[in-house]
């Protein structure tokens, strides 16, 4: 009979209901035979930390902890924490387990020491392979075990690593073996991912169980990230360096994580196009011209990072970046080529290399591995072929049977076995044999019960001037399968937080820098051209969506109004529908159908590029590539709006329903606009967002006025126009005589006091352009300003009585030209690729 696993002894304060719940969970928990488990020790006892944690969960009334967790999870979903599967357009939500992996201080100290030693060892190996090459020359590492890696970057051999080291961030995937010891399963050095998810997991769990989190002395993650950032900064030549995170872009599987880290660490999130190399240095294209990039933390694989010297088909990289590295003009981290040490072929050599390079054995063993490129090792693998796992020796495509990770021969079909044996015979150097590691289990919450689940723990090490720092925690994945030899995020795994407990109460620390070290600044550097571009278009999409919603609202109201005879006169309705057709909200066919259907299409038809749902989707896509610049509230509202508008095109709406939907969507847009007005710093980014909005509003107003306030406009037309441009009240309070053509045109186009008029947009645009940086210091206006000044003088001097449709069309066209001029001047394809011109001389 196993020793009693009594929770009651250590949790005397639990009430009887809680005790019953806890007992139920523990009694229902059945560890797998012969597999170590975090919750149940081999002697049958449960660690005290787990009892405290589960006891606290049990202390919540039945179901409440799940509710709390569900709430926190919903928070994640709403803020769009998700990881994207390649090729998917919609982001997939990312599963998080409510139960953390709990590790005690002593055990953690051993793990941390092992990971630190391994990081030191691997850095030394990289240093040698890319430097002196003694390990190969002395026969300690076969040359062919090095050259098989696609990440052996020959172009950087003999080049001192930029920033003095190859790795600033290293991660090890650990598993706990049958004997309870920790093993290294894999090394991650190319661009280790998951640290941002660890941070996010922590946010969710500490939100769901705040008291518990503090009471258990869980060690904080923030100091680690602060150290990591300091390490990157210290590698640069300048004292206040500009640090970028180079992302493959929003289609990357871990883009969210990258955006999140960039925001958390205060790095500039850039794509390859944002950077340019000139004279051996890297620059960021900003709206103020080229600005030095001192450190590039890359999440782009080495093969794609410089199309001139690596994969020439790459669109993700920066041409000439290697030249800049060789010239010492930029720190790229991890140094391209670090991914070399991810090869399994190297694993078998590390125990000996540790003794040789560090003079001590590995503190954390790695999985016993035999590289078949050597005759003796090949024989060992052949002799034990049925008891070993066979794996690819190097990352890359490899044999199809092994594409998804190491396999046992017995798990393959006879045909696959024969094929694999033949391939191993022809090219043994592509394969390794590995001891099979069975992973230990940790409890996961599934179907209302605790269930043992195999897990892999990723631990991170950051290089700092004071040596390696290990993140007290990590990114843990638990499998939903009972027998896990390989775990992929893509296949039903959950992520969990990792709690490293401290014996002492933990001080509350966040990423607050020491007061004396912080230089006060009010502007966060220069706005990158890409961000300016995206913000501008986000502004335009949102404004266009708003205008379309106003049209839909008017369309629906016209049918419901008791005064229908007045409002819904055939001609006015036709003009309204013509406007919707004109900007692509509905197609011609829908325009000829019933009005209710037209309203429904304009809201929900995903095939029409100008429908509200399409515009909001475009806005969301644009926003998704600059998540680090938008507040969480903004993003949540936008996602929420899109999901409310989607998949509704088949509903047949009554006019009341379309009205209600349009009203609700307009309210959300108003909130979004309020958020940007109230919460966004009045720096360049906000100006571009607002400029997009202003240009779009000006253009839309011109169009609506041309359509509804032409020479033959009816009273109905003008009435509707005032509705659409939200100027009904202003007009009526100002002109008691009733609606007339000239005052309506004046109010909507020329009146600089009406925030909906074209004149007001032009005035606002002038302020924005004047506040933006210029490329030249010769005092001459740049092209956008030149055009805007011309437009403003026309608008300001126009006489209301003389204002006709041709003049309004001219304003509209000039606004469109201005939009192009803004894009030519400030955005990526524009002239900002040239360095800032200095005239020199004294003023």
């Amino acid at each position: 009979m196993p020793p009693e696993r009594s929770a009651l002894r250590v949790q005397p304060f639990l009430d009887s209901g809680a005790q019953a719940r806890l007992r139920g969970w523990l009694d229902g928990y059945r560890p797998l035979a012969g597999v170590p488990d975090e919750l149940v020790r081999p002697d049958g006892t449960t660690p005290e930390a787990w009892l405290r944690f589960l006891g606290a969960l049990a202390a919540f009334p039945s179901g409440e902890f799940e509710d709390r967790f569900a709430l926190a999870t919903r928070h994640i979903r709403d803020s769009g924490v998700s990881h994207r599967i390649y090729g998917d357009d919609t982001e997939r939500t990312w599963p998080l387990s409510p139960l953390p992996l709990i590790l005690g201080e002593d055990e953690w100290a051993r793990i941390a020491a092992g990971v630190e030693q391994r990081a030191t060892l691997l850095e030394a190996v990289l240093n040698d392979v890319y430097g002196e090459g003694k390990l190969v020359a002395e026969g300690r590492l076969p040359a062919a075990a090095v050259t098989g890696s696609a990440d052996f970057v020959r172009a950087l051999r003999g080049v001192p690593p930029s920033g003095g080291r190859h790795m600033h961030l290293y991660a090890a995937d650990l598993g706990r073996g049958p004997d309870g010891r920790w093993w290294v399963l894999d090394d991650r050095a190319q661009a280790p991912s998951g640290a941002g998810y660890a941070l996010e997991n922590r946010m969710v769990l500490s939100r769901a169980f705040p008291n518990l989190f503090n009471a258990m002395n869980v060690q904080r993650l923030a100091p680690f990230f602060s150290d990591f950032r300091a390490g990157l900064a210290a590698s640069a030549h300048r004292s206040d360096p500009r640090i970028c995170l180079l992302t493959p872009g929003p289609f990357s599987e871990t883009y969210f994580e990258q955006a999140h880290l960039a925001r958390y660490l205060g790095l500039l999130l850039v794509e390859g196009d944002d950077l340019v190399v000139r004279d051996g240095q890297a620059y960021i294209r900003t709206i103020a011209g080229l600005k030095r990039a001192d450190v590039i933390w890359r999440r782009v694989d080495a093969d794609f990072i410089d199309p001139l010297e690596m994969n020439s088909a790459s669109q993700l990289g920066v041409p000439g970046l290697f030249e800049a590295i060789r010239a010492g003009g930029v720190v790229v981290s991890n140094m391209p080529g670090s991914g070399l040490i991810e090869s399994r072929a190297l694993l078998g050599f590390l125990p000996a290399l540790s003794n040789h390079l560090l003079g001590e054995p590995l503190k954390l063993p790695n999985v016993a591995t035999w590289w078949c490129g050597q005759p003796a090792e090949r024989r060992i693998v052949e002799q034990q072929i049925n008891s070993l796992a066979i794996a690819r020796a190097f990352t890359g495509p490899g044999h199809p049977a092994l594409a998804r990770g190491p396999r046992m021969m017995s798990d393959l079909t006879p045909a696959e076995q024969a094929d694999l044996r033949a391939a191993m015979n022809l090219r043994p150097l592509d394969f390794v044999g590995q001891e099979v590691v069975r992973l230990s289990t940790t409890p996961a919450w599934r179907d209302g019960a605790l269930q043992p689940s195999p897990f892999v723990l990723r631990v991170y090490a950051a290089a700092t001037p004071d040596g390696w720092k290990i993140m007290p925690g990590g990114f843990c994945r638990v499998s939903d399968q009972r027998d896990a030899r390989a775990i992929s995020m893509g296949e039903g795994a959950q992520a969990t937080d990792v709690w490293v407990l401290s014996d002492q109460p933990v001080e509350s620390i966040s990423l607050l820098a020491h007061r004396d070290n912080v230089k006060v600044r009010r502007i966060m550097g220069h706005l990158p051209s890409r961000a300016a571009d995206n913000l501008f278009w986000l502004g335009r999409y949102l404004e266009r969506a708003e205008a379309t919603l106003r049209l839909v609202r008017s369309l629906s109201t016209s049918l419901m109004d008791s005064d229908a005879a007045l409002h819904a006169s055939g001609e006015t309705l036709c003009r309204l529908q013509a406007l919707l057709i004109d900007w692509g909200a509905i197609d011609k066919e829908a325009g000829s159908r019933k009005v209710t259907e037209a309203a429904c299409s304009a809201l929900h038809d995903e095939a029409a590029y100008g429908s509200v749902v399409s515009l909001i989707r475009s806005a969301r896509r644009t926003a998704s590539s600059m998540r680090e610049r938008l507040s969480e509230d903004f993003w949540k509202l936008l996602l929420n709006l899109e999901s409310r508008l989607r998949n509704r095109q088949n509903d047949v709406l009554t006019e009341a329903e379309s009205l209600a939907r349009a009203e609700a969507a307009l309210q959300t847009l108003a909130t979004l606009s309020g958020l940007t007005q109230e919460n966004m710093n009045r720096v360049a980014g906000w100006r571009f967002l607002d400029m997009g909005r202003r240009i779009e509003r000006g253009v839309n107003t011109c169009r609506i006025v041309r359509q509804l306030a032409g020479p033959d406009a009816t009273l109905d037309d003008l009435d509707l126009l005032l509705d659409l441009v939200d100027s009904q009240i202003t007009y009526r309070s100002r002109y008691l005589e009733g609606i007339a053509l000239t005052p309506v045109r004046d109010l909507t186009i020329l009146d600089p006091f009406n925030p909906r008029s074209v004149a007001f947009q032009v005035e606002t645009l002038k302020t924005h352009l004047a506040a933006l940086p210029t490329l030249q210091d010769d005092g001459m206006p740049e092209e956008p300003s030149r055009q805007l000044i011309r437009l403003a003088s026309l608008v300001e001097t126009e006489d209301a009585a003389a204002l006709g449709v041709p003049e309004i069309l001219t304003f509209e066209q000039m606004l469109m030209t201005l939009s192009n001029a803004v894009s030519d001047r400030y955005f990526l394809q524009g002239s900002n690729a040239t360095p800032t011109k200095k005239q020199g001389g004294l003023a």
């Binding site: 190969v136 002395e138 020959r154 010297e309 020439s312 150097l429």
Partner: protein, 299 residues
Amino acid sequence: MIYELRHLTTYHYGKPVSFARCSLRLAPRLGPDQSVTDSELTITPTPARQESHIGPFGEVVLTATIETPHRELKILARSRVNVHRPLLPRPLNGPAWDAVRDQAFATTRLDVGSPAHFLYPTPMTALQPAITAYAAASFPPGRPVLEAAFDLTCRIRADFAYDPKSTEVSTPAIQAFEARRGVCQDFAHIMISGLRGLGLPAAYVSGYLRTIPAPGKARLEGADATHAWVNLWCGEALGWVGFDPTNGLVVAGDHIILAVGRDYADVAPIGGVVLGPGGQTIDVAVDVIPLEEQALRIG
């Protein structure tokens, strides 16, 4: 044999290009059996900045940045090369190919000539069971490596049709293999893929081949072309030996090496030229002039 080489590449753009960055691998490679006495590169318009470094396989790489607006980019490489590669003694034999393979796996060299660099597949020379099987027919266990490789060289020449229209510069080996046609680049890729499939270290060589004008005819200016063939590492004693599957030859004095890499992508003479917004056309003119011939012409 001393050669005078002239390799002119001209890009014509539909619209002016204001910025171009390119990397050029156009300086013939020095080697034990080839010396370069003179080599120069002229780019028009003149680059704002030039930098040169030694590339991963020992080649001189010149990177140039051009900031002058231009509609035509001319890259002229001229050099004088002395090729003194001896003929291999016949009959062709050498060590057993399987022994060569084990030597390559065990090499402790990582210099540019090390066989270790040339053992693994690349995107253009991916391992393909069909190509490996094709190559394996020439490599029964224990066969002397030179004999086996020459047999494969001759089989490729016999089995494949020379057809410049069938493939492009980016065509991977398997596509030309299945079509049974292609140009020198494709034949080299096929042979390399096959040899590496067997575990042998094989390299892609780009260069020039001396053409002999028809009797009584003068050599046509600019009519020569770049060529490609295969280097196979044949063990520590023999080192690298060239095989030309396009012509069914063992490489000797008529082949001038420009660069050596794992596949075409490693040695592409010109990389990274910006595509012009208005489309572009490229002209390449190559002259390979044996020096005694030039002396005759001058005389």
